[in-house]
Symmetry: C2
Subunit: 265 residues, 2 copies
């Protein structure tokens, strides 16, 4: 299956979306299954799991943990599907190197893998749109641009690495609204970590993201940066655990949790 | 030192309060060091640390982790004092049994102990008072009443146990305000888990708390229940790890973090 299925992506239930991805559809999931929470995935051997859980505790903006499986389990309390097949894309790392990109990982699965589901900023995009804040990469039908920054995460055990951010251009008169709206979702990255001045984050050229797609920043718009759930994969690349699996950036796990459940207060 | 020092407890800096406790003062810390965050303490051997960190992730209302030390470390990023001496009271558990209550734990300290600092509902009490909601145990100068409930926490590895709640009587016309105010502090237990109907939580007699002191519930007041950071110690008693140290209930770690830092959005 290579075409976007009917009904429209935003109308798909999580179960339908997962079935489409399991069937081979490969697409960024922004805009899919409106109202249902999407999550970043990181699978690590049990021996590395404490370091990662502590890394997440110490870097809650970029690594808000929504769920953790038992070793070897392929489902999670918020994900009734199969984590090995039901995402549209995966990245497999060996010794921190991207070894391959796959559409399923049953062939490389290990019984000692602990899977972490981590909040994704796609959750607050519906709230941004509802508040009248445009979301450029949705308008463009592309993947959100993501950048490695010069900010180090707080390390934990063997894990260290840079903060990765996602970027959305926001009209200057709506920046405050974007901050206010996303602040209400701390479990899915929350408020921006940086507004404007990409050079201060070590981003030399907004047109060349490290992950995802370039988007247009129009005159009068400000690039706004949110902590990104690709940060764990950047830590994997930096710290080189023997084995890890992540989602392909932008190609998320569509869970059975509702976005509204992560809104505070 | 056995008397409450000058200046008044609420005026003490965290450093001054910790020095007083280190000097031997034993007192519940509610009302101490206004504006500074108080925390529950649990110290477990490194071998048990993953299970606890996962337990906390799965029970975020009762176990919001604010900080985690490296094994053997006696200070934390939000606690510049000595975790072994600077709390007013400790409980030492062996095989899940309360073995002793002490005012310092240097004599039983182990180099493999990981210390967890866990959010405490004392943080939102100042906000309740500011909003005009009375806090009975502060008025009475006593410890907050805490109860084991019939609600099981979600287990993790070897750790399981009941939810423990703290109770504050709130005038019926201010219950909504109490919910609204405390909802803004999810990292320190957040909104109540239960309003009224203590029998539904398995609490037969509000006058007989499992921890802390009885307080008066006046006519027209409703008992309101928040998840409590003694829950980890209840899990220790239920699951019987070989060794653990906790704070004495109500006798918290006074940290160098500001309460305002935990307010959202």
């Amino acid at each position: 299956m290579t075409h976007v299925p009917h009904p429209a992506p935003r109308e798909l239930t999580p179960e339908q979306a997962r079935a489409a991805f399991r069937g081979g559809l490969k697409a960024p999931t922004s805009g899919y299954s409106a109202g249902w929470t999407q999550a970043n995935l990181l699978c690590l051997p049990r021996a590395e799991a404490y370091d990662f859980l502590l890394f997440a505790q110490r870097n809650p903006r970029s690594c808000p943990v929504l769920d953790v499986t038992e070793p070897g389990e392929a489902s999670a309390s918020i994900f009734a599907g199969d984590l090995r097949t039901d995402l549209p894309g995966y990245r497999v790392y060996r010794d921190g190197e991207l070894a391959e990109e796959r559409t399923e990982v049953t062939g490389v699965w290990r019984e000692d893998l602990v899977s972490f589901l981590i909040g994704c900023s796609f959750t607050f995009e519906a709230a941004l749109l509802e508040a009248g804040v445009p979301v450029r990469h949705i308008e463009a039908g592309s993947n959100v641009p993501m950048y490695r920054t010069n900010r180090a995460c707080r390390p934990a055990g063997a894990l260290a690495g840079p903060l990765v951010v996602s970027m959305r251009p926001v009209p200057a008169d709506q920046v405050a609204t974007a901050v206010r709206v996303t602040s209400r979702y701390p479990a899915v990255h929350g408020a921006p970590v940086h507004v404007g001045a990409p050079g201060e984050l070590g981003i030399d050229d907004l047109d060349v993201p490290d992950f995802g797609d370039r988007v247009e920043v129009a005159p009068g718009e400000v690039p706004v940066f949110w902590a990104c759930g690709v940060t764990p994969q950047a830590a994997v690349m930096h710290s080189r655990p023997s084995f890890a699996i992540g989602h392909a950036p932008g190609h998320m796990a569509i869970t059975d949790a509702r976005d509204s459940g992560f809104q505070v207060p």
